[in-house]
């Protein structure tokens, strides 16, 4: 009996596998695509090599004055020399350890919250939220328990940016949740008050809010009561941001099926317990990515405090570029600022995407 032996399979055509295949599929699949690829490659060639040349190859890294920048590229000496000012503003240099310590405490204190297996996370988080602000205020501002006072007018740089962002979100979150609950309330008067509040703050730019808090707030307050500049900015930021948080939280509340409300009511829970034990835990979990996004927006918006004369990261850099000894360093300064802001915002947006995937328990289609 004749046996057939199959010939081995032919390999796929050499042009459709490996590097060549990938290139053909992704870059040169049609004449139009080829044209696009060539155009894009031209753009890259136009932008990337000069950028690397300027920022890395031709750049000056060491030195102390402007005269040390001779090679024609970026003068990172400027950033290096003013680094302290960019990070701490006018915070006295011998006391800067207090700022560092505050930051380390935040990192160490918050780290357990990011460990998934941590027991009693909510309790710990709550305790952290109560204890840490007091500790941070004591360390940064001082004035009691043996630490000398550093007034807020000396705060600045990245530290001030972080303080405004952190206090802003910590203040805006509870207020925003209350406003969202109010907006979804059955009571018309409460609803009208909350809607008006939210829509008002969402309709105006933050810059006018900051103007308002710096020129109108002193008029609103009774004689003798006054806030410093930072406090006024913070009040403006908190009120402004709470409206945005409220809308994010409302989205979460609306996503909870009606059955949850009815089941909670059928269990005999009152309004606050229904919200606190059943609705909010689910709704807030849904909107954590949204809250992180709001926080990113807030972080970027902190740069606006320059308008009312606070020395945040951006303003510190702007001031440094107007220094006669370092004229013409605007590009280096702003690129450095952009890099810092970018690292923070990009990191947070990645984290928010990660959370979105992790928390996705089937609410999506």
């Amino acid at each position: 009996m004749q046996t057939h032996t199959f010939k081995p399979d032919l390999p796929p055509p050499a042009l459709s596998v490996g590097v060549v295949g990938w290139l053909r599929a992704n870059l040169f699949s049609s004449w139009f695509n080829t044209l696009l690829t060539l155009f894009a490659a031209y753009l890259v060639w136009l932008i990337v090599p000069p950028l690397i040349q300027w920022a890395l190859i031709d750049a000056d890294w060491t030195g102390t004055t402007r005269a040390d920048c001779t090679s024609g590229g970026a003068c990172w000496v400027f950033v290096q020399q003013r680094f302290g000012q960019f990070m701490y503003g006018f915070y006295p240099s011998e006391l800067r350890w207090r700022v560092d310590l505050t930051l380390w405490l935040a990192i160490i204190g918050a780290a357990p919250l990011f460990v998934p297996q941590m027991p009693r996370k909510a309790m710990y988080g709550l305790a952290f939220l109560v204890v840490y602000p007091v500790l941070a205020y004591w360390l940064l501002h001082g004035g009691f328990f043996g630490l000398s006072t550093v007034s807020t007018s000396q705060w600045g740089g990245l530290m001030l940016t972080l303080v405004i962002a952190a206090v802003g979100i910590a203040g805006a979150l509870p207020l925003g949740i209350l406003l969202a609950l109010g907006r979804r309330s059955d009571m018309p008067a409460i609803r009208v008050i909350c809607v008006t509040f939210i829509e008002f703050w969402r309709g105006v730019p933050l810059i006018t809010v900051l103007f308002m808090s710096s020129v109108m707030l002193p008029l609103f307050l009774p004689e003798g009561l006054s806030f410093d500049k930072l406090m006024r900015a913070l009040i403006g930021v908190i009120l402004f941001q709470s409206a945005y948080i409220a809308e994010v939280v409302r989205g979460g509340l609306q996503a909870i099926p009606k059955g949850q409300y009815e089941a909670a009511a059928a269990m005999g829970l009152g309004y606050w317990r229904m919200m606190g034990l059943v609705i909010l835990p689910q709704a807030l979990k849904l909107v954590i990515p949204g809250i992180v996004n709001t926080f990113i927006a807030l972080f970027k918006d902190t740069s606006l405090v320059i308008i009312i004369g606070l020395f945040d990261l951006l303003n510190s850099i702007k001031q440094a570029t107007t220094d006669p000894a370092w004229l013409g360093m605007a590009t280096e300064g702003y690129v450095f600022a952009a890099l810092i802001f970018w690292i923070f915002c990009f990191g947070m947006s990645r984290y928010s995407q990660h959370l979105e995937r992790k928390l996705d328990t089937g609410h999506k289609r």
């Binding site: 009571m187 008002f200 105006v204 006018t208 103007f211 008029l219 004689e223 740069s303 605007a330 802001f341």
Partner: protein, 394 residues
């Protein structure tokens, strides 16, 4: 079994009646809001009296006494604060409109590019989006203004494009058209041509629906649009006169100039907002399921019509609402002009005028209400549009 013990009597206490409680809460809330309002109002009154500031809007008629770098309507130093307000408002609207148009174009381009099957193009779009949306807009404005615009060469060494456009540290100079005597004839011809095209396309659509016969509108429209205005030019001569900027002494004369503040602001806002619009466009297109494309193709629609008649109308429904909020954001971000001294409403009115007059409450109230009005009108317009194109479900 005892079941009646814990059931409250139907009458119950008044305080446990949800309706009564709701009323009580609302009354308390209203009282609290009114009390807070009164507290603030009272304090303000006292403080204003103490500082000798008279409230009211009569200051709007006083002469301003300062010049403005860019005004779309006639303005000089002797004009009133009221006119300063209008100048600022128009400048704000100018930046917003230019920014919205450019950001929409760039954003749609980037959004489509990010979905492109071309690896390089989609990666480039991704890098652009991830870079620019994570840098604060104010920082971008500063960069374009302080690092780019102000370091351009002076007028005498300006970079020329042809002999008509000049870019230097004082701005972008370009030829300005001014109408001649025959402009009316030309404009009339253009309007008649446009009306003709509209009528033609209506007629062809009606015929198509009635008989199924297709008439290519562009076949009639292009000649109509070319011939009528062309005839007007032949009859009446050149409808526009171009005044070209010329270097006289240390500066340019004639033509239009885009001041560097305007350019920096527009550039930064466009680049920043386009990154967000691109993401909205991408998510909108991705929200249209692939089955729609397949269905359209199996009905025999070519790729272009699939896109135009099936994908885009459905994607737009998803894109429009977030697009609205991006437009609003751009309009609000235009107030960052105060950072570089572009004479928009905030820097002129809430900045200079407030400092000169000290009428903090009135000035801030006017500024805020303008933004509220812009916000509300844009969102109403978009809601109307959204409703019009919304899917009608049975």
């Amino acid at each position: 079994m005892q079941t009646t013990a814990n059931v409250p009597r139907p009458g119950g206490s008044v305080w446990t009646d949800p309706k009564v409680r709701a009323w009580l809460f609302q009354i308390l809330a209203v009282i609290a809001v009114v009390a807070l309002g009164w507290f603030l109002f009272d304090n303000t009154q006292t403080n204003l009296e103490k500082r000798g500031i008279t409230s009211g809007f009569s200051f709007l008629n006083n002469s301003a006494g300062f010049g403005i770098a860019q005004h779309l309507i006639d303005y000089n130093e002797s004009n009133s604060y009221g006119r300063v307000f209008v100048v600022g408002l128009l400048n704000t609207l100018l930046v917003s409109v230019i920014g919205i148009v450019l950001a929409t174009l760039l954003g749609f381009l980037l959004g489509v590019a990010r979905l492109s099957p071309n690896w390089l193009v989609s990666k480039l779009a991704t890098v652009y989006i991830e870079t620019f949306r994570n840098i604060p807009p104010l920082l971008q404005i500063f960069f374009w203004y302080f690092a780019v615009m102000l370091s351009l060469p002076g007028p005498r060494q300006s970079m020329g494009m042809g002999e008509t456009f000049f870019l230097n540290s004082r701005g972008l100079y370009m030829p300005a058209p001014s109408p001649t005597d025959s402009f009316g004839l030309f404009a009339g011809a253009v309007i008649v041509a446009i009306i003709g095209v509209v009528l033609l396309s209506r007629w062809s659509k009606a015929r198509f629906e009635a008989t199924g016969k297709y008439f290519p509108v562009s076949l009639g429209a292009v000649p109509l649009l070319l011939v009528l205005p062309g005839l007007a030019v032949l009859l009446g001569g050149n409808p526009l006169q171009w005044s070209v900027p010329e270097l006289t002494g240390f500066n340019f004369r004639g033509g239009w100039v885009l001041i560097p503040e305007l350019m920096a602001l527009t550039l930064a806002l466009t680049i920043y907002t386009a990154a967000f619009i691109a993401e909205n466009v991408r998510s909108g297109i991705m929200a249209v399921s692939h089955g729609q494309t397949e269905a359209a193709r199996s009905l025999g629609l070519p790729a272009g019509k699939t896109l135009r008649l099936v994908i885009i109308p459905q994607a737009l429904r998803v894109i429009i609402p977030p697009l609205t909020s991006q437009y609003l954001n751009l309009a609000k971000n235009s107030s960052l002009a105060a950072g570089i001294g572009y004479p928009d409403m905030v820097s002129l009115f809430a900045g200079t005028v407030l400092n000169q007059t000290g009428q903090a409450i009135e000035v801030i109230a006017i500024t805020m209400s303008v933004y509220l009005a812009i916000s509300i009108s844009i969102s109403m317009l978009m809601n109307w549009y959204n409703k019009r194109i919304a899917l009608i479900e049975r």
